[in-house]
């Protein structure tokens, strides 16, 4: 039968796709409604796996995953024209893009309370997933996978735990995490080695990092109590983060060029070196006002 969530005509797309896709809301706890965009598989939706995809943040939208990464619909620079992505993951699976938690993208809560935590998010995602299979019972027997990237490194395993421990009928097979946050300590500590061995830090800075942050067997850059260590880690992070390198892709251009003076990127930085108050120094100083 007809589904009110089915997208019948997507603006900007010259020819509508042969596969069906749906956009609407899934119920979570309280008054929260999570927006989803579900694209059926291009080949055998009846039997292909169902895959849930979640971008990270925390607080960033999974529609970026759909429109810029693994989804079938990609956008031209004009923001009006849609073209088909030949490498969309719905070549092999039915894919749900879920905007979570409430307050992200088109997801919302009637009470406008957007304070949340990892446990609440995993429960809300689990409830939304159950609502999805209530809306689409024909997919409940398909193999199911949870996937995501970045802070999805937290969302994905915590939701998988809910599925494992819950009693919902979900044919859960596995999960995948891409460039995920799995451990703050390991992510911070490894980044210093990554930076040095990619030639971002000179010998002087590397020597100071080792001198102030390491003992004979172990380096702790992550939460070292030595004030000198936090200072040199700050210097290293200034290079990684604040001089115009693309933190998400070392060898790509930074869109928009070197960040303007005193720009603070709260979302990106919130996952790195959270134990220190790092003061970033801009590479290009703000020019004095000319008269």
């Amino acid at each position: 039968g007809s589904n009110p969530d089915e997208v019948l005509s997507l603006p900007g797309l010259a020819v509508q796709p042969k596969f069906k896709h749906y956009s609407g809301y899934l119920k979570a706890s309280g008054t929260k409604k999570l927006h989803y965009w579900f694209v059926e598989s291009q080949f055998e939706p009846e039997t292909d796996p169902v895959v849930l995809w979640m971008n990270g943040g925390p607080g960033c939208s999974s529609l970026d995953g759909l429109l810029s990464e693994l989804g079938p619909f990609h956008l031209r620079d004009d923001g009006k024209t849609v073209y088909m992505n030949p490498y969309s993951w719905n070549n092999a699976a039915n894919v749900i893009f879920l905007e979570a938690p409430a307050g992200v993208g088109f997801s919302y809560s009637d009470d406008k309370n957007y304070t949340t935590d990892d446990d609440q998010v995993s429960m809300d995602n689990y409830l939304a997933l159950q609502d999805f299979f209530t809306k689409f019972p024909q997919f409940s027997k398909n193999p199911f996978f949870v996937t995501g990237e970045s802070y999805g490194g937290v969302y994905v395993p915590t939701l998988s735990m809910r599925i494992l421990e819950g009693n919902a009928t979900i044919n859960m097979q596995g999960f995948a995490v891409g460039n995920g946050l799995s451990s703050y300590a390991l992510n911070d500590n490894s980044l210093m080695y990554f930076g040095y061995y990619h030639g971002l830090f000179g010998t002087d800075l590397w020597s100071q990092l080792q001198c102030y942050c390491c003992n004979a067997s172990y380096c702790n850059f992550h939460d070292n109590a030595q004030p000198q260590c936090s200072l040199v880690v700050g210097e290293a992070m200034n290079i990684v983060y604040n001089i115009g390198l693309d933190i998400y892709n070392l060898y790509d251009d930074c869109a928009g060029g070197i960040p303007p003076h005193a720009t603070v990127f709260k979302v990106a930085m919130s996952n790195l070196f959270r134990n220190y108050k790092i003061k970033y120094t801009p590479l290009i100083k703000k020019p004095p006002k000319l008269r």
């Binding site: 997507l10 607080g59 960033c60 088109f106 490194g153 999960f175 693309d246 892709n249």
Partner: protein, 146 residues
Amino acid sequence: VTPPCVNVTSSLIYLNNPDVRKALHIPTSVQDWDICSGVVGAQYVRKYQTLYNQYQTLVKHYRIMVYNGDIDMACNFLGDEWFVESLKLDKSGDRREWVSNKQIAGFVQDYTNVTLVTIKGAGHMVPQDKPAQALKMFTAFIKNTP
């Protein structure tokens, strides 16, 4: 709150177009779309410093893939490699290259129920940076093929 060095202008224009919102069944009362929510991000409470315990439980029940574009610095490949190694799972076979389009696409190490993959030359957003390789990797994972 737009992440640094990322251009989301086209998505902002498209998803805030009233015709697009209507096609996607978004009520007019719902806020404008943005790539990230400052309100959510600022109030978010992080409860887990590591997902070690979750992985230790889940690996007994599910198939897991941990993949990394190898030139990302936000969540770099080495940290996730260390994390998977910390699980102390049995390795099956040697670390090896994997191929896409007659080119080495990265490296892979299989463990019991976990596959650790790198995608050479991809950053944080692997399916955006290396779409063909990402699709091949994803398909192999869900089909449970090497």
